[in-house]
Symmetry: C2
Subunit: 226 residues, 2 copies
């Protein structure tokens, strides 16, 4: 087992059978010691954060598997905080794909002239580049195609999967009286036919969720699914 | 003749026949006394800047008229620095539509991970909201539609016109050995059938142009077309 990548919140090991092992760490992103899932730096370490994130990820990835929605998931070991995944190729140097149900966060900061906090958005999809140095800029379908990151046909698949998976998460949260405002995903290409599948994780840090009008912190959200 | 709007670089008067008169002012945008066409504040006053901008605008709008490309242009009076235009309705509170032929400016700042200065871009179109307070954020076709600013069908027309007009300007500049990197336009809806037409101006401040690898200042560019 060989360490191939050290991420902010996960380490990646290559397995002998060609799959990869993701080790969920207790390091969480944030600034000045405050947990902020949107931040690009590791802010602090919280005992058990890795396992909590993996537990929610396993919960959702197994529902997606049952529904036949493609992901990189093979299996997970909560005790060890590890998840086995199929090898996937990133789009360019990595994208984040956001699905929005209520105006919040960067959408509100950008489009506040035309929307207000909490306005219903119908599974609105947008893509940003993973580029810490340039504050993860938004990018259009045309630009993704022109820069050779993602073809127009792939964009259609990506958008469809994003809405499908977003809706699954939204429904699961709704069963506990929780409302999903937005969620971000990562996708990659898997196998010889370059199938587009969900990769990375679906944990509390990937989404903004509210209960009775109150924002739920990622770790609290994860506890609600134990 | 009634003053209906005072802009940063133009005043707008309502005419009795229903058209409008745009008065090009000598105020130019910039910061700390330096002319910067991309700035959102008036930086300084340059004697003759209004007439110079109008002269280039008239030159391009008359070429577009000959080619049957729709604009709001009726006629212009260089001496008075005024242009008569048809009444047009903005998209939302106003959009800027950019057509890019070489990677430069905000495109480069956003997508520098995937492109380098001067990379050829094939009449790439992107839209930003006119919103000084939010630094004119970029917005996608999907978001324009969802927020009720522009329908999907209108977007197709807008994109097509932008590339058509961009190409006209590019060719006119090329005749003088000038290379167009990018240009920004404004569009509006005119008449009962809400036809999408080019509005505002096409002056030096709307584009980035280079000759022999050197950037040409807006006023110098305008002089080259006298």
């Amino acid at each position: 087992m060989k360490l191939t990548y050290t991420g902010k919140t996960k380490d990646v090991y290559a397995l002998e059978d060609g799959n990869y092992l993701l080790k969920f760490k207790d390091d969480v992103t944030g600034e000045n010691g405050v947990f902020d899932p949107g931040a690009n730096t590791v802010g602090l370490t919280i005992e058990g954060a890795g396992r909590a994130g993996l537990r929610l990820t396993k919960f959702f990835f197994e529902i997606l598997k049952e529904k036949g929605i493609p992901t990189h998931y093979v299996d997970a070991n909560i005790e060890e905080a590890t998840m086995t995944v199929k090898p996937a190729e990133l789009f360019g140097k990595g994208l984040e794909v956001i699905c929005r149900y209520r105006a919040d966060g960067s959408f509100l900061r950008r489009y506040g002239l035309y929307t207000e906090a909490g306005q219903a958005l119908d599974a609105f999809v947008e893509v940003t580049l993973k580029d810490d140095g340039r504050q993860d800029p938004p990018i259009s379908e045309d630009a993704l195609d022109m820069l050779g990151i993602l073809s127009k046909d792939e964009y259609k698949v990506l958008k469809g999967l994003t809405q499908q998976i977003g809706n699954v998460v939204k429904e699961e949260l709704a069963k506990k009286g929780i409302e999903l405002h937005d969620i971000k995903f990562e996708f990659g290409r898997v196998g010889e036919n370059k199938q587009i599948v969900l990769i990375d994780e679906i944990s509390g840090g990937n989404m903004r969720a509210y209960k009775d009008g109150e924002y739920i912190e990622p770790l609290d959200l994860e506890k609600m699914f134990q």
